[in-house]
């Protein structure tokens, strides 16, 4: 009989990598945005809108948001796991977190695709 230990290694590795991959995407986007704002100094609605209406920035901004929501799901779930011990309450908080983040993703798409 094989005695499997279910808490073995590998369980969190995918999340660990995803948290770092999304962090990298967001870090690159942050630099791009800072450079853009620095170069263009948008001071009117038209100039501000033009930044995000540009196809490349629209794509990058959406990529940022998707990375952010995945990143935050892993991070916030880790925080719930550290501080909230009752299983039921923790499950409720985790489901509420997912629901909020999925909603935000739709919201972000709506903001960007109306430009």
């Amino acid at each position: 009989m094989i005695n499997r230990i279910v808490v073995g290694a590998g369980y969190g590795l995918k999340d660990w990598i995803a948290q770092r991959a999304t962090a990298l995407v967001m870090a690159v986007y942050t630099l791009i945005l800072l450079a853009t704002l620095g170069a263009l100094s948008p001071s009117s609605y038209e100039a501000w809108r033009a930044i995000f209406a540009n196809g490349f920035m629209q794509f990058m901004t959406f990529l940022f948001f998707v990375s952010l929501f995945y990143h935050v799901w892993i991070g916030v779930r880790d925080i719930w796991m550290d501080y909230v011990k009752p299983d039921g309450l923790r499950l409720v908080l985790e489901i509420a977190t997912i629901a909020a983040l999925v909603g935000y993703a739709g919201w972000a798409a709506k903001i960007l695709w109306r430009l």
Binding site: A27, L37, Y45, Y104
Partner: protein, 130 residues
Amino acid sequence: MAEIAIKKKRPKNLDLPTIRLPLPGVLSILHRISGAVLFLLLPVLLWLFQQSLASPETYAAAKAVTGSFLVKLILLGLIWLYMHHFCAGIRYLLLDLHKGIDLQSARFSSKVVFAVSIALTLIVGAKVLL
């Protein structure tokens, strides 16, 4: 075997107020706090982003909301939380690649994170809030 090691008596100090947290420790807890606070404020930030882009009228309204000193101060605080999380996050990514993990480098890089994130906060704050 692991149990034997754990049962060994080791000195413990759980009197929290007497523990002086070293700078890398402050950086670490602020990284968690900044992530959590930014998460909780996501709906407000998305709403502000939406208002700023939806139309010239909502853009002007968003500008008016962010015109008050108190709101500017709060936004400056949020910019700092973001910049801290961003810089500390990059430091973690480098540590994960085993760059700068000896004690001296780690202490030094935590100072760099505080200096750079505060400088970025002031630059970005001056740019978007003034």
